[in-house]
Amino acid sequence: MGTIRVRFIIVALVVSFFAVGMAAFLNYFKYKSTISGIVKSRVLVIGRNIENSVQASLSVGMQFMELGTMNQLLQREKASDRLIRGIDVFDQTGQVLYSTERTRVGEKVVNAWTEAAARSKSTEWGTEAADEYVAGISLKNNFDLTVGYLAMRYSAEEVDRAAKVAGREILLASIFSFLGIALVAPLALIVVIRRFERDLRALEAAASHLEDRTEPALPTGSAFDGAIGNLRSSLRDANGALDDLRAKLDSVS
């Protein structure tokens, strides 16, 4: 197989690898972000129920720090979806006021939560840790002032499991597609460059007889016919001149 043909095939394989790889990458991450979005919005539905209850309490004049039934409400909402590991309500300093786990009350939440909540342009916010995701809602009073934050911790396992399954299948589909290209592309390229290779062969054939001064007939229609003709006539001319000189020298002896 010619070196140039090999190079063209390598180009085809590199480009196909890039395109198929990018497509797999895009599909995988789209799947992961979609499934994350679905799971997060599912958790936020529960959060909205809690938010509505808090706002109803605040609107009748209760203090945010003194919502007596809050812990029970959080427990009840947590039980409504197996995905949720725990629910916390914390103030703007990050101190937990209410929680489904009593031990967490009074503790500080990690900085990433308060930063994510402060950075968010809407009332919803979220963070992702290695094994646990957090979906949050900024709790506002009737004057649209943020009084605290609601954080629902849920397992990353569901998203990770789904992403792993999808990722494996997308990867397999990509590998098979790439292998398909690796088989088909070289054949297709050989068909496309056969004329170019024929032209090159014609050139090589012409060049291989430059020294022995024979001029075998070449396939016509090559893109290099003119060049081959010029090459031959130039060499013929030079050799002719040297032959003439040889003859003249020989005639003297």
Partner: protein, 703 residues
């Protein structure tokens, strides 16, 4: 020229075949992805529907708990509407009574829904006391049904319909990115064809054509070149061998004749005269011996700059679509400076360092050597990209971006010098076409791929990819020839002096070209493309990928239109008109946002800006040589063009600053409009200023 077109025809055919293969492969990947999406996303969405349904059911039970009759609830449809707003994948919601009759409904009812609701299995759901929900495919929807049961007393069933086509909608978004991948793949294919095969093939065939021409002209001097071990290399070796053979014959015959003449008697010497005449005729007509060693392999070496340049520029271009959003994320309050200006600060600083550094880095790269200068630049930029990826806040980000800018300026100038060193008058345009080609392809591929990466793997990891690309460019730079090709007659280049800058800044003709055309063109380019588009697109709820696609539209326009406008403006010699029209079109682009702030209009803005810039960009610098001949005579070509480039690049730095100030005053849309109005004004002023007879192109002398 024959072999160039011949090769390009082959390239396009190859690119076509590769693209067909890629499209088929992408279709296969998309098909299987769709299957996975369908299978995995639907159950998850059904669970979500069950959770949403439970929330709605709680409201219903709360109302019935207050004693309101189940069949006369108020506001149920409005609640359904609110659910649809927050969950676009839900297409239908209904509550049926225990007989399966619809009491409340909203959305598009799927065909067969009524029959489904009266199905005994579904009716049985109303009697369930647990939170159980059941899903079934009905028409074009998946219906999730759950009981509404008040302490054991069945009231009815709540149904939530999920549009089966929602998976298609999700995949449609991926499809746009896949299209971007396809366009990038096409450019990538052409670039790779050139890098892996084309450069050697083109130089090989070029060498063959030159060899044939030399032989046709009677030049049979032997060259001692190392040939590549491929088809063209073998061919050239055979020709070299034939020439060597001829040279040996010639040397032998000439030596033999000389010997015979030296030892011959007078009579014999007379007999040798025809042979002597024949040798004289041969030496007159044909040339034998060794060819001079000049510019050996320079064409091949020139082509070798393309790969490292492409990889390096791609590293920077990858960041275009998301850099402002990243800065926004790391922003810290700087007293007295608006956050809008702070976001533009790293871009501004980058452009300023490039603008001020380039004139002086040119002579530095000449001193230390182009390859070494490129290596240093790429290493500095790689450190910059890595630091940017790990940046703690805005302050260190500015430092890292400054390193990127310094590295960029070094590599850019050194690569430009590399091309200049290896080209003469006859092939300089070809050399710069290669240089600009690498940059343009990187501009097409970079922002779109960068946007996709940023959306999926995050800003920091995307900067990591840029660092990796920069690192790859270092590997390619190392492979460049270590020996420098400095032209013996070439004067060392220098940056413009302050005296020259001051003199040219107050020169009316020079400033008409620079202040009314070159600078406004750069201001709108960086202000709109590098600052406003990425920020505005994200501010209206779109992604960095979309910003990347927009910037790709601009780059594609440049790739397609610049060669055409350059050749047309050269042919007509009315370059000023191209600049005028280009500026006016650029100026009109942002005004489109006065009509609407829709996404399609923004597409139109970028399209028109790309068109306007493409029309004017090639003609602008040519106009300097055409109309500032007096200034070139006084200050020299290098000084005039040095000041022109300096001011043009200062325009690059001013763009984000002006745009950010305008955002403070009038918001994003106002900034687009005001920036465009400024360029429109400059375009009209330029048209009026270049209307006089002194601006008419010189009439070519008739023979």
């Amino acid at each position: 020229m024959l072999e160039k077109n011949y090769l390009w025809r082959i390239y396009w055919r190859l690119a076509g075949v590769i693209m067909v293969c890629v499209v088929v492969a992408l279709a296969v990947v998309s098909y299987f992805s769709h299957r996975v999406f369908d299978r995995e996303l639907v159950p998850e969405t059904e669970q979500k529907a069950a959770t949403v349904g439970a929330s709605v059911r709680a409201l219903v039970l709360k109302a019935t708990g207050y004693g309101i009759d189940f069949s006369q609830l108020y506001g149920v449809e409005q609640t359904f509407a609110e659910v649809f707003e927050e969950n676009p994948e839900f297409a239908y919601m209904a509550i049926t009574n225990t007989d399966g009759n619809v009491l409340y409904a909203r959305g598009t009812e799927p065909i067969g829904a009524r029959t489904h609701f009266r199905n005994p299995v579904v009716l049985q759901i109303a009697h369930e006391t647990t939170d159980l929900s059941k899903a079934a495919r009905v028409g074009q929807q998946y219906i999730v049904s759950m009981p509404i049961n008040n302490d054991g007393k069945p009231l009815g069933v709540l149904h939530v319909g999920i549009d089966a086509a929602f998976v298609d909608h999700v995949l449609l978004e991926v499809l746009l990115d896949v299209l971007v991948v396809l366009v990038v793949s096409l450019f990538f294919t052409l670039e790779l064809l050139n890098f892996m095969a084309g450069a050697r093939l083109a130089s090989g065939l070029g060498e063959f054509a030159r060899q044939v021409d030399r032989m046709k002209a009677g030049d049979f001097t032997a060259t001692a070149r190392i040939r590549a071990n491929d088809e063209i290399g073998r061919l050239l070796r055979r020709i070299d061998s034939a020439i060597d053979h001829l040279n040996v014959r010639y040397e032998f015959l000439a030596g033999e004749l000389q010997d015979k003449v030296r030892t011959a008697t007078a009579q014999r010497r007379e007999a040798l005269k025809p042979a002597q005449a024949a040798l004289e005729a041969i030496t007159k007509r044909l040339r034998f011996g060794s060819a001079p060693q000049a510019a050996d392999g320079d064409e091949m070496n020139l082509n070798r700059i393309r790969a490292p340049l492409f990889a390096f520029i791609l590293a920077e271009e990858l960041t275009r679509s998301f850099l402002p959003s990243y800065v926004n994320q790391l922003i810290v309050a700087i007293p007295g400076i608006s956050p809008q200006v702070v976001i533009g600060l790293p871009i501004m600083l980058f452009m300023l360092i490039v603008a001020l550094g380039q004139p002086y880095l040119g002579s530095w790269s000449e001193r230390v050597g182009r390859r070494k200068a490129m290596l240093v630049g790429a290493v500095v930029a790689t450190i910059g990209f890595t630091g940017t990826a790990l940046a703690y806040n805005l302050y260190d980000l500015i430092l890292w971006r400054s390193l990127c800018a310094l590295g960029y300026a070094m590599v850019f100038v050194a690569a430009q010098g590399y091309v200049l060193d290896r080209t003469g008058q006859q092939n300089r345009a070809q050399g710069f076409a290669l240089f600009i080609g690498a940059i343009m392809v990187a501009t097409v591929c970079g922002p779109s791929i960068g946007g996709i990466l940023a959306d999926n793997i995050g800003f920091r990891a995307s900067f990591g990819v840029s660092a990796l690309m920069s690192l790859i460019s270092i590997l390619a730079i190392v492979r460049l020839p270590a020996t420098e090709a400095v032209l013996p007659t070439g004067k060392p280049t220098r940056g413009p002096r302050m005296r020259e800058i001051m003199a040219l800044v107050v020169n009316r003709r020079f400033m008409t070209l620079t202040g009314l055309a070159a600078m406004p063109a750069k201001i709108i380019l960086t202000g709109v493309c590098f600052y406003l588009v990425p920020l505005y697109i994200v501010s209206i709820g779109n992604t960095s990928s979309m910003a990347g696609r927009m910037l790709m539209v601009y780059a594609v326009m440049m790739v397609l239109i610049v060669p055409l406008s350059a050749s047309f403006s050269d042919a007509t010699m009315r370059r000023d008109r191209y600049v005028s029209v280009g500026l006016i079109i650029s100026g009109l682009s942002g005004l489109l946002l006065l009509l609407s702030d829709s996404f399609l209009v923004l597409f139109g803005v970028v399209f028109l800006l790309g068109l306007g810039q493409a029309l004017s960009i090639a003609a602008q610098s040519a106009l300097v040589a055409e109309h500032c001949q007096e200034e070139i005579r006084i200050y020299g070509h290098d000084a005039v063009y040095g000041v022109y480039r300096l001011l043009e690049r200062l325009g690059n730095a001013l763009g984000p600053l002006i745009a950010s100030l305008l955002v403070i005053l009038w918001g994003y849309q106002g900034s687009f409009v005001a920036l465009s109005a400024l360029v429109l004004f400059c375009g009209i002023a330029f048209t009026i200023a270049t209307h006089g007879s002194e601006w008419q192109p010189a009439t070519p002398a008739h023979p």
